[in-house]
Every structure is written in C-alpha cells, then in structure tokens.
Amino acid sequence: MKDLAVRCWWRPHHAPVPGGEAERELPPSLERARGRLMLTGVVFLLCFGALVVRTLDVAVIGAPVGTTVTGAGGALNPAARADIVDRNGVLLASNLPTHALYVEPGKIMDRDAAVAALGDLFPDLDLRRVTTLVDSDRKTALLRHNLTPEQAHAINRLGDPGLWLERREQRFYPQGRLFAHAVGFTDVDNRGLAGIEKAVGEELRRRAGSDGGPLALSLDIRVQHALADALHETMTAHRARGAAGIVMDVQNGEVLALVSLPAFDPKAPDRDGTEARFNRATHGTYELGSTFKPFTVALALDRGIAGLEDSYDATRPLRASRYLIRDHRPENRWLTVPEILIHSSNVAAARLAMQVGAERQRAFFDALGMFERAPLEAPERGRPIAPRRWGAIATMTVGFGHGLAVTPLHLIASYAALVNGGVTVTPTLLRRGAGASLERRRVISAETSAIMRMLLYAVVAEGTGGKAAVPGYLVGGKTGTAEKAIGGKYKRDSMITNFVGVFPIDRPRYAVLTLFDEPKGNEETFGFATAGWTAAPTAGAVIERIAPFLGIPAAIGPGESEAEPPIVWRDGDGGQHASL
C-alpha cells in the first residue's frame, strides 16, 4: 500500500525508488489498479482544468464593463415613444403609465360580485354588455383602456383571477389644443395618426428604444400661444369660419408657430368634428389674392423687365376675354411699380404680369415650389391647384393671386425667399442645429430681395398693410383678400383674407402669416372684413407680442426721436415719397 502511495504517476522515473527492482514485480491486479487510478486522475484534472479556465473566462476576461441590469419595466415596449418638446424644452407630448383592464371569462370566480364591482368602479360602463361578455366563451377581452391608479388598485384588491391588468403607455398632451395640428395625436396603441406623431413616428420609436432623449421641434410655445391667441380674438370678433397662422424663421425655414383654428382636443380628436381636424395652415389650398403681387413685381424687377419708376395703366378696369379685372379701391390713374403694391392694384399687376409673360411666370412659381406639396414633417400637406392652361388669362389672374391655389405654408416659405436675400428655404418643424447644411436655390438676386424688403415696408408704412405697423419695429408685409370660389363662381361676401408680415424688415428674421376664412365686418371696422382690417392688425398684434422675447432690437428706444426716413422713391409724377 505504501509502495503504491509513493509511486505516484508524477514521480520522475529516474528518481531512486524504495524497493528498487521490486517495482516491476508488482502483481497484475495492482498494476491494473494503478492504471485505473491514473486514468481517473487525468479525468479529474481535465475537469478541474476546464473549471479553472471557465472561471477565469467569466471573472476576468469576459467581465462586463459597468453593470447592465434591466428590470421588468426596462424591456422594449412596443408602445414606447419618445417625448416631444418645443425648441426650449417645454414638454408637448409625453407617455404616462396607465393600465388596461382585461377580462378572462373562464377564470372569473364570482360572476355577480365581479360585475357589481366593475359597475361601482366604472359608472359609465354598460353592465349588460359586461354580463354577456363574462358569460361568453371568449378567452380574453379588453374591457377598458387607461385606468386611473385608483381604479387599478381597486381591481388588484378585488383579486379576481378573471380580471387582470396590463401595463400600458398612454400618450399625454399637456398643452391640449394649442399644438393639436402641429404635433398631432396617436391611437390607443400609440401609433401616430396625424401631425408630427405620424410624420416622424419611426424616429420617436427609435429614440424611445435607444434612450435617445426627447425630440426637439422648431416650435416655440410662447410664439405659438401669442399667434393662437391673436388669431382666436380676431376670428371671434369677425365671426370667421376659421383661421390659420404660421411664424417662420426666414433664414433657415424653421417654423416657430403653426396654428389652425378651430382646433381639436388631441385626447379625443373625433369629438370636435372633421372641420376642426382639418389643418388650414398646411392642408388647405386657397387662392390668396394680392399677397401674390410681390412675386409678380419681384420677377419683373429681377429679370430687368420693369424698373421701379416704370408705371402702368390703372385708369379703368381691364377686360380680358370674358373676365373684367377691377381694383378694390381704384386709383384710376397710372401707377408706378411700388404703387402697384401700396394700393394693391389688380389692373396694374395684371398688366405687369402680361409684360413678364406666361413662361417666365410659370418657371418662377415652379422654382418657388408652388406646384408641389410643400415639404414639412406633417402628413397633412395640400397639393396646389394650378390653372390647367397657363395662357394669357391665367398669367394675368395669377399675377394678382387668382387661379393658383396654394397652402399658407407655400406662401410664407416663398415670402421667406423674397426677403432673405433671394434663396429658397425648406420649411421644417424640427429644430435645426446651428451648423445644419441647408439646401437652397437662388430665385432672385440679393439686390432684388433688398428692393422687395423696401417695397413691403412701404405697403405697411403707407399702403393697405398699415394696421400691421408696430410702434418701435420695422415691419414689412402685404395684404391679400380673395373671394372664395364656390361651385366655380366667386362669391362676393365669402372671402379669404390673409397677410404676410416680415420683421425686422431691414434685417429680416421672421415672417408672420395670418389667414381668415370668411370673416365678416363688424362695427369696429366699419363693416369691412378685408385683409387690411382683419389679417394685417392680427399679424401686427402677434409681432408686437413676440418681437421682444425673440430678441429683436427695436428701431427706436425710449427717449429717442423717430428714425430718419429710411426709404425714398419717386412716383409717376416725379414727386418724392418718403416713409416714416
């Protein structure tokens, strides 16, 4: 036995071994036992070796860097959506945890008690429907969405195995109707159905899955509120059917506010009817009227077809085949190019458009994107309606804003191009970083753009846009009043009035669009409901409210005298006009 113990397998063979030669003389049974012992040892060694290697592998090599413990709630939730915030981080849409109540008829313990308890918890529940559901042979059925925490607690306390709760995420819009059209809404399964929620739904899901933080929009809640408030006030005062408004950064196309009235409640979108759901700002296409005249003028000036001092005959209405083009408030004289805008003469604008020509006009509106849906992160975008034949009549009418129906979004984006130095902007509802590369095409020269700023300023300083003037700020803009075409005929008393204002007009930063659908005159406006009395003052009120907090320096400060007349031009008779 001792012999065996010392003659371990690892013992070097050349070492002196007690017993000497006797080793070979071991009986065969012992020899066999030694062989087995060695085999067992080797097997054990291999096993322990494997364990050591595995331990090292787990503990040292494959040690996780930082702990990644995921609890039950951290698992990927198909209903998860990232929050939506405005440009300053104010919450516009978020997910709140709620419970959904399911009933499993086969497992209901006490049918009558369960039904009675449900009746107590949900007073509006149809108990007969519940009873038939409980008696049916369905496996499970969803009974109720969005339980309050108290209701969920009561169900748990009831403890009926046939009633069970499922954790859900419910979309919540703390701002209510204010962002209804821009942000949109989701269905009960948190799938986006409108607005940003639908347009960038995938992105919202991706962010929620990868913890990418909230999605920042370009909208500014302060601007949005100021715009909605002012639009609502005018809409009520003039008993308009609806209103729309947009505030846009003319340099990079960011939309700071987008309002369509009447608005709906994103929590219950169906309750307010389809008219409220309709987005007038991006979906409604309208013939906008005189707000198109600056395009005609800009095109004529830019291509060298007309100069500022050229004048056009507006002495009498213009007959074009079966149409009679007339002015709203006729001057009955020849008008210079600036005066066409200041007095908003349809006749002179039509003559100017004819001089420009159909082909150039069409190409210009094409370059401005007026024949395509305007790009924006919203599914509700209206396709413009262009004249089928772009002949002489169309050229004339489009010259003063009839015959080509576009959305308010098209209009304000095109105005941005007119005043920002002459390059197009791509409207967006998402916040653009400072270094974002923008795709821009030149539509008019920087010089023409500067002249357009002056002309738009003159319209507010001297012309139909006078009520958009804001003390202390330099505002430029243009009014537009168009009769609505209903059933192929223009109706005198149902109008679309709109105004696009730009401020500060000498260093344009923001454009404000206001539009009213069928406003009516009231005592305060002497019965007038045209754009100069409805849309222009509303835009002025908006600018007055938002300019200070957007950091726009006022042109005049306290105790300062009024600024020097900034612009001077000659009218047709050689007289000088000065503004301010």
Binding site: L91, G176, L178, D229, A450, G472, P553, A554, G557
Partner: protein
C-alpha cells in the same frame, strides 16, 4: 503525508466557508441592486409624471389668466427696451443687400 491531508482538509473547509460567505454577500447585493433598480424605475416614472404635470400647469393660457388676475403687469412695449450697442445707420440699409446675402 498526514500534514498534507490536514492542510488539504483545512483549506477545503476555509474555501467552503469563504465561498459560502461570498455567495451570501452576493445574494444580498443582488437583492439590494434589484430593489434599487425598482426604486430608480419608480423615480423615473414619477419624474415623467411630474414633468407632464408641470407642463400642464404652466400652459401659457393658464399663466396668462393667472397673471391677468393677480399681477398688475403688462406686455413689454418696444419703446420700453433699450438695445446697446445700437448701429446708428440701421434704417438706411434697407436698399442694400448685406454682405452675407451677396456671398450666398
């Protein structure tokens, strides 16, 4: 021979004890981790709810209403704000495009 066996058994006992203690400690830590994680999730959820509530309570319409009722403040007029420094020739720049615009 004998000391080796004694040492082995002692080592075995010590290792067993150590392993038991470590395992016990790990189990405790795991329990603590799970409860902390649960706590964290509860807090994250609470923050989410509170943020929503804050946003709901600071709706511009509500603030405007409260301000009108309890404060005697009015919106700032442009003429009340002084901007420094002022460029003296601002308005005359209307007719000329800026250098940045010409570069584009």
């Amino acid at each position: 021979m004998r000391p080796l066996v004694v040492i082995s058994i002692a080592a075995f006992v010590v290792a067993m004890l150590a392993m038991f203690l470590v395992k016990h400690e790990v189990r405790g830590l795991e329990r603590e981790l799970a409860s902390l994680e649960l706590d964290r999730q509860r807090h994250v959820e609470a923050i989410r709810v509170l943020r929503s509530e804050w946003s709901y309570l600071t709706r511009p319409a509500r603030i405007a209403d409260l301000a009108a009722r309890h404060l005697s403040l009015e919106p700032v007029q442009a003429t009340q704000v002084k901007w420094l420094p002022r460029s003296p020739s601002r308005p005359t720049l209307l007719l000329t495009p800026t250098a940045a615009e010409l570069e584009r």
